[in-house]
Symmetry: C2
Subunit: 165 residues, 2 copies
């Protein structure tokens, strides 16, 4: 049986438990493009119906999508992004920008997301401090958070000692 990450004391693992299945992020990409109906997801993605059913259900269960009844002579559903789902824009953007740079390469971007005011592409996401200054990896440190398990505390300490976080 496939290992589950839902017990892990790590936010990335928790995120993957919700988003990590094959197809899931492409379903969400479609939702960002405005797709709402089962059939439209299926046609655009070429995903099998049984898998799509499972993925939509999983995302609804976890609160990323909401099932909205739009039926006129009975019940009929559409799937729309919740605030939790819309907040994945940063994740999708980070992934897209990374692949634009390293996989497809500059000058070969399939789409551009632009600022309407200037018409120019939205700049890359960057880690900045509270003062707005750019942060380099060396300027950051990892610390156990309020939800850290003992194992997490030990790991963070060990990594810090090796100076390689």
């Amino acid at each position: 049986m496939r290992r589950r990450f839902d017990k892990e004391n790590c936010s990335v693992a928790q995120a993957l438990e919700v988003l990590g299945d094959w197809w899931t992020l492409l379903v969400i990409r479609e939702a960002f493009f405005g797709v709402r109906r089962f059939g439209e997801f299926q046609a655009n993605l070429g995903i099998s119906k049984n898998v799509l059913t499972q993925r939509l259900g999983h995302l609804v269960d976890h609160g990323v999508l909401a099932q909205v009844d739009v039926g006129e002579h009975g019940t009929h559903y559409e799937y729309v992004l919740t605030p939790m789902g819309k907040d994945l824009l940063a994740v999708m953007t980070a992934l897209r920008q990374w692949a634009d740079r390293w996989v497809v390469g500059p000058g070969h971007e399939p789409i551009l997301v632009c600022d309407r005011r200037t018409g120019r592409p939205v700049p890359r996401l960057q880690l900045r401090g509270e003062d707005g200054e750019l942060l380099r990896a060396a300027q950051m440190e990892v610390r156990p958070g309020p939800g850290a398990s003992k194992a997490t505390v030990a790991r963070v300490r060990r990594a810090a000692m090796q100076g390689r976080v």
Copy 2:
């Protein structure tokens, strides 16, 4: 056979082709924590060895990790992040921040990534324009990029007409 995304005219799909397998992002998480040896990945993750072998090889093939020979009496490898791999920090951060907010919840963060200068957590990644102003979804528009296929051009146009990108 599982569908491959490598022919899709979409950077997110391309990213998933490299990073989308089960376990892959946790392998990269470990690499960010400074893990370099096969055995250490295996022990920390509890992943099976054959799958770990496949994942490390895949990441090396795609340029995310580099295999470095550190043998003293023969050849022995370590796996380290390349610049392409290090550039995934934004992706990992976006995922972590999203899950911190929506899955584990504020006040339950397993780890905190802090600015050394202030000791305070690094702020959330945000989409900003070239002028540094915060961008809302409504202020952005999607356009076909230089690498857009005909299908992509058509999709972007259709989505724009529906005003729901």
